[in-house]
């Protein structure tokens, strides 16, 4: 029974930790499926984390914070679009620049606004997303097995967690069941064909980058106003890159992305709870858990366990022939 309670707790924290990964991963999915590589997920999340926490702290409204986070992330998305779509620059270099821009600007503005060493004040009641209790969660908690699963694991997360997991079927539907999704995927594989069909390549790519911005914005807001209570310097801590890793792990497919993010979230949850794991003689150091998402991604990329093939036109600016 004690093992079961521990398991529920670890899985509960898995869901919490997987949520920002999942949102960022789906964000990258839209962008990369449209042929725009985005290694700036980290920067966009960080920017959104700061502005959501800052606005929530100033206004006391978490919803205004969320909007501010999304808006700030969209600005960076626009910059990425400008560099990589309009001016046909190198998408990877643009992503690197965005990550640094966010890392620097957040601390600079935080120091200027709040003078607390690059952090925002801690958020209280109205400034945070509070957990949503499912109906009868309390009443059912006594029921063996099902009770804890329902009231601990599924109930009691903030609304953004449910939004993130609902985004998975939504993304699948948009990408694979709508005309927009078909065109979006086509523009990442063969933009010339889309152009020939009379559809704007630039418009589609900007749309994809904008969706990416919105999702990164929600991910950042979740970090600062739901998972934690306020912004601290570099609080994304490489999550944008883990999301990128999950995206490759999932081979750019929405449902697989969810499982990949849950797996990487589980690794984080285990590392957080157990530190060094003793398997009777062999001790797995905590650093192995930290590095595992990246190692798994390299193995997948190497093609030893099923090859990960990115969208064919990914990373290449589209030049109309003339």
């Amino acid at each position: 029974m004690e093992f079961f309670i521990t398991l529920i707790q670890v899985l509960d924290s898995t869901i919490r930790l997987a949520t920002p990964l999942l949102l960022a991963c789906l964000a990258g999915l839209y962008s990369e499926r449209a042929g725009i590589f985005d290694i700036g997920l980290e920067g966009k999340m960080l920017m959104a984390a700061f502005f959501s926490a800052a606005i929530a702290a100033v206004t006391g409204s978490v919803w205004l914070g969320l909007l501010a986070g999304i808006a700030s992330s969209l600005v960076l998305s626009g910059l990425h679009g400008l560099a990589s779509i309009t001016f046909r620059g190198n998408q990877l270099i643009s992503g690197v620049a965005i990550n640094f821009l966010a890392a620097g600007m957040t601390v600079l503005v935080a120091q200027s606004w709040f003078q607390q060493g690059g952090r925002t004040p801690s958020l209280f009641d109205g400034g945070r997303f509070s957990p949503i209790e499912f109906p009868f969660a309390d009443a059912l908690s006594g029921v063996p097995i099902i009770g804890p699963i329902y009231s601990e694991l599924l109930s009691g997360h903030s609304i953004l967690v449910y939004v993130a997991f609902l985004m998975v079927p939504a993304t699948w539907w948009v990408l694979f069941r709508t005309r927009f999704g078909l065109r979006l995927r086509a523009v990442g594989e063969n933009p010339a064909a889309v152009d020939t069909a009379g559809v704007s390549v630039v418009g589609l790519r900007y749309a994809a980058v904008a969706i990416c911005g919105v999702l990164c914005g929600i991910a950042g807001a979740y970090l600062a106003t739901a998972l934690q209570a306020g912004f601290v310097k570099d609080m994304t801590a490489g999550r944008g890159f883990i999301a990128l890793a999950a995206l490759i792990f999932a081979k750019w497919r929405p449902w697989h992305a969810m499982w990949a993010c849950l797996l990487f979230g589980l690794l984080q949850a285990i590392a957080l709870r157990f530190q060094n794991i003793d398997l009777g003689g062999i001790v797995i150091p905590v650093q192995v858990m930290d590095a595992l998402p990246y190692i798994l991604t390299v193995v997948i990329l190497a093609g030893f366990v099923g090859k990960a093939v990115p969208p064919r036109a990914g990373g290449e600016p589209y030049v109309k022939e003339r």
Binding site: I39, L79, L82, A83, S84, F87, R88, G89, N90, Q91, L92, I93, S94, V96, A97, I98, N99, F100, L101, A103, G104, M105, V107, L108, V109, Q111, S112, Q115, G118, G238, F241, L244, A245, I248, P285, Q287, V288, D290, A291, Y294, I295, T297, V298, L301, A302, G303, P310
Partner: protein
């Protein structure tokens, strides 16, 4: 026919990009309620107004020369090595092993061995992404990013569990023995009555970095291998047609790149800290990207850009000391430089090309 003269490509475009980055940085400083002119004054006096300031500026510049050259060599083969940070961390591990576990009679021999150790470890860390890119087509940018994180975890493990001296809480190695301490600028240039560079970390590795610039220049423009690297970077199909093996060039270019990034450790680990600490690289691997972009991947350009970033780093530290502008201002400037010289290159280039074309038409 080229669209514009060579000097415009080599000097004018980086200059305009730099000015744009500077204007935006000034606006940022204004926006947070500080005076940009005063800030520049403080930075110049702090970084260049004394031998102490110069000692720090050149110390940072040494780091950035190595990482900048690393990125530049890879750029010539059209490979984007973001892994300089991880390779420099591993280089630090190499230096620490050389300095800690082998008794050296004199620093000069130790420096040679440390160079070899850091190059070996840095190159080894670049070898796996290079192999995967060359043989399996895994995107080098993603694999090198992943290897940065793996390097950080690995170094953390080594420092906490293996190399930390007994009884120490600090995740760091023991101090290196006295015999392997490198001569600093202070000991090299001070006379009995006039002490210069007092307490500054600049050391003899600065000259090793300059030597590395010269060697890389000779390698890229004066050897067959350099020609092959440039040919491959220019056109892969053309290079294959000329009998150049893409696998060989990819791996060799990345090994050289990793070795150069690793060599940074002789400056920051052996020259300054004199032990290996966590996060000893302090992001210098990433600044290499900005330095290589600004220096147009030419060793002399890298040299100049590295000194500029050394100035920004030391100036930024002084700013943080005397005003309420945090050090992160430098990260913003760095981002703007990468943005304008790298990603938004065409924004500057397209109007300039038009301008030169119309000038030429006017002349004809």
């Amino acid at each position: 026919m080229d669209k514009m003269p060579k000097w415009a490509d080599v000097v004018l475009i980086p200059l305009i990009s730099l000015i744009l980055a500077a204007i935006l940085s000034a606006l940022v400083i204004l926006a947070i309620g500080e005076n940009p002119v005063e800030a520049v004054n403080l930075m110049v006096t702090g970084a260049l107004g004394s031998t102490y300031g110069w000692g720090y500026t050149l110390y940072y510049a040494t780091n950035f020369m190595f990482t900048g050259l690393a990125v530049a060599v890879a750029f010539h083969a059209r490979l984007f090595n973001i892994g300089g940070e991880g390779q420099a961390m591993l280089g630090g591990l190499g230096v620490a092993m050389v300095c800690l576990y082998i008794p050296w009679p004199h620093w000069s021999i130790a420096l040679l061995a440390a160079c070899a150790g850091s190059m070996l470890f840095g190159a080894a860390w670049a070898a796996i992404p290079a192999y995967l890119q060359a043989k399996r087509g895994s995107h080098i940018v993603i694999t090198t990013i992943m290897f940065n994180f793996i390097a950080a975890a690995f170094l953390n493990y080594m420092l906490v569990n293996v190399m930390r001296p007994q009884g120490s809480m600090d995740p760091a190695t023991a101090r290196f023995p006295e015999a392997v301490h490198l001569p600093t600028f202070q000991s090299m240039f001070s006379t009995a009555e006039n002490v210069v560079f007092r307490g500054a970390p600049a050391n003899i590795s600065f000259f090793v970095a300059i030597l590395a610039c010269v060697v890389v220049w000779a390698l890229i423009w004066r050897t067959r291998l350099g020609y092959e690297i440039r040919a491959y970077g220019h056109s892969e199909t053309g290079a294959v047609y000329a009998g150049i093996s893409p696998v060989r060039i990819t791996i060799i270019a990345m090994l050289i790149s990793g070795a150069l990034a690793g060599m940074m450790a002789i400056n920051n680990v052996m020259g300054e800290a004199e032990r290996l600490v966590l996060n000893s690289t302090e992001g210098a691997g990433f600044i290499g990207i900005a330095v290589a972009l600004m220096g147009r991947s030419h060793p002399f350009g890298v040299f100049l850009a590295a000194i500029l970033f050394g100035f920004l780093y030391q100036g930024g530290a002084e700013l943080a000391l005397w005003t309420s502008i945090p050090r992160e201002l430098i990260v913003v400037i760095q981002a703007l430089v990468i943005l304008f010289t790298g990603a938004l290159d065409n924004m500057v280039r397209m109007p300039l090309e038009k301008l030169f074309l119309s000038l030429r038409k006017g002349a004809e």
